[in-house]
């Protein structure tokens, strides 16, 4: 019982931390990480739901399958979000564009 509770509470706290970070931080990378922390929290609770102490019955395989599925989704979505964030940073970050321009200028003058 205590194991399940421990995992569940940890998961819940992770979820809450992720949620808080997601809302208050504006940097894309932090947001993506926050979502990842949140999903980890949910998976923890899910795995905890499947746990049975030894001798008290079989371990439920369905949440395990769900977590596996969830992890896959989370990985792919994270990858996509990271790429998107990179694109956003490249195209709409003025500082970066400015720096690029400055980097490009000396090259042009060399040619």
């Amino acid at each position: 019982m205590i194991t399940t509770l421990l995992y569940s509470m940890t998961g819940l706290i992770l979820f809450a931390m992720g949620l808080f970070t997601l809302i208050i931080h504006s940097h894309p990378l932090r947001k993506i990480l926050a979502v990842n922390v949140m999903s980890t929290g949910v998976f923890l609770i899910l795995v905890a739901a499947a746990y049975k102490p030894l001798g008290l019955g079989k371990i439920d395989p369905v949440p395990h399958a769900m977590v596996l599925t969830g992890i896959v989704v989370s990985v792919s979505v994270t990858a996509l979000a990271l790429l998107l964030a990179c694109r956003v940073q490249e195209t709409s970050n003025l500082d970066l564009l400015e720096r690029r321009k400055q980097e490009a200028r000396p090259k042009e003058s060399n040619q």
């Binding site: 079989k58 369905v62 395990h64 399958a65 599925t69 992890i71 709409s92």
Partner: protein
């Protein structure tokens, strides 16, 4: 535009202390957590589940591992859609950008090359073992695919020159292979038994293995492609036929 840029750049000069909105939010989040926590606390000790139901049907599933049985047989439809999610991520990534390789081709670092030569075949072996083992122990397509993906990432990090030349079309075939096998098997079962993914009991194990093998390859390629961060060089439909043969690094 302006404000959006600000939002992105603001994080750099963010204040350390929380402002009023953040405090209220913090309070709300804490309340929410406490509430949900107390609900979990009061939940019954032995939650109902599907463990017994799955155990009852286990012997008809064709595999010994309950997780694999759930993943690929009982809830195989979920997994089919899941594989599509992975593929979607690749399509989305490819639509966004071109894979980023360094400007100049340079000779790979001999140490890195050595590590790759040593590790990559080993990883392929482990992946194959994991897929094989999935039928009776923990393991399966996702785990195997993850190892394959890691192998791909390793090669990408080493900046093997030949990776740059990987043609798009074979890569796409590889990416689609797993889903196609999955759908093919599903439809095959539909013809045979009248149910989508309704494996005939005697061949279920082999069909699941086939799906797992196909999916493991595709998942590995998917993860590596996602790491590469975009579509390959010759993805322009016009000059499709410039593809070169498979490079050495891919199949050492």
């Amino acid at each position: 535009m302006r404000t959006e840029e600000k939002i992105i750049t603001r994080s750099r000069n963010r204040h350390k202390r929380l402002d009023a909105f953040q405090r209220i939010l913090l309070l709300l989040v804490i309340c929410l957590t406490t509430l949900l926590g107390s609900i979990i606390w009061t939940m019954p000790e032995n939650p109902p589940g599907l463990a017994d139901a799955v155990a009852l049907m286990q012997e008809h599933s064709g595999v010994k591992s309950p997780v694999t049985a759930v993943l690929l047989n009982f809830r195989g439809y979920d997994t089919l859609l899941e594989v599509m999610v992975l593929l979607l991520a690749v399509i989305g990534a490819w639509s966004l950008a071109k894979a980023h390789f360094p400007q100049q081709e340079r000779e790979a670092n001999p140490v890195q090359m050595g590590v790759v030569r040593l590790l990559v075949p080993l990883m392929f072996l482990v992946a194959a073992y994991l897929v094989w083992q999935g039928s009776h122990l923990a393991g399966g397509a996702f785990q195997g695919g993850a190892i394959l993906g890691a192998a791909g990432v390793l090669m990408l990090v080493t900046e093997l020159p030949c990776l740059r030349a990987i043609p798009a079309h074979p890569l796409r075939i590889g990416l689609v292979l797993g889903p196609l096998i999955f759908v093919g098997v599903a439809l095959f079962c539909l013809f045979l038994t009248g149910d989508l993914l309704g494996y005939p009991e005697e061949t279920a194990g082999w069909l699941i293995l086939l799906i797992e093998a196909g999916c493991a390859i595709s998942i590995g390629l998917t993860l590596a492609s996602l790491f590469a961060g975009g579509h390959p060089e010759d993805e322009r439909p016009k000059n499709q036929e410039q593809a070169k043969g498979p490079c050495k690094g891919e199949r050492p």
